[in-house]
């Protein structure tokens, strides 16, 4: 595979998993790419993707990130509903 595309594992939790009817997906997109690019791709391509917010809370590889953070091949990108722990 050429280094001009990146494949990331996307995970959905809680309410978001219910909205798209699944807890994970694989997304490929042109490299370089940001988390925002992943969000746009998911909202466009995934059935029910439009039910997710345009600017969700996100994490890459278990760390909170902003939408302009870059993603690399193999990253795990998570869509996090508003946090309600404690």
């Amino acid at each position: 595979m050429h280094a001009t595309s990146a494949t990331v594992r996307v995970r959905f939790f809680a309410h978001y998993a219910e909205l798209v009817g699944r807890s994970e997906a694989e997304v490929s997109l042109p490299f370089p790419a940001t988390v925002g690019d992943v969000v746009r791709r998911v909202r466009e391509d995934l059935p029910g993707g439009r039910r997710l917010p345009e600017r969700p809370l996100t994490a890459v590889n278990l760390q909170h990130v902003k939408l302009d953070a870059s993603v690399r091949n193999g990253d795990e990108v998570a869509f996090l509903p508003p946090i309600a722990g404690g």
Partner: protein, 142 residues
């Protein structure tokens, strides 16, 4: 220690983890599932999490607290699964040489948990309905 459990939280265990001869003050916080006037008959809350991230983020959170209160000793555990009203969903213990540090460190941890730890809750109501809790305001019926 793992920061997550699916069984009853033990205050005694959290306190035992942080106690030390140098610590004269221990502050404990327990967050409990309510069924009060503000909760339209909540029977239980179902807690779920991005578990691998919870563990990683709790590690960073406790390290942040240790930087601010180097003499404090901190233990925290979050419970997941269905928790009936009246039982605790989170337990935090902070011990320190002096009480101000213990109170501040304990308060810091619960405030950061609310901000950073990826845990979600769904209210299970006595009428059978289920509601995702969005602390920013709007409850979301599912």
């Amino acid at each position: 220690m793992t920061y997550l459990t699916r069984t009853l939280l033990s205050i005694d265990q959290l306190v035992a983890e942080v106690s030390s001869p140098a610590c004269g003050g221990t502050c404990v916080f327990l967050g409990t599932v309510r069924n009060g006037p503000e909760e339209t008959s909540v029977k239980a809350i179902e807690y779920s999490a991005y578990e691998e991230m919870v563990e990683a983020e709790f590690g960073r959170l406790v390290a942040d607290a240790a930087k601010r209160w180097p003499d404090a000793r901190i233990a925290v555990q979050h419970r997941l699964g269905t928790i009936p009203a009246g039982e605790a969903s989170i337990g935090i213990a902070a011990a320190a040489p002096h009480r101000a540090q213990a109170f501040e460190a304990c308060r810091f941890v619960i405030e950061e948990v609310k901000r950073r730890i990826p845990v979600w809750k769904k209210e299970l109501r006595v009428d059978g309905s289920e509601v995702w809790v969005d602390p920013s305001g709007r409850p979301t019926h599912v």
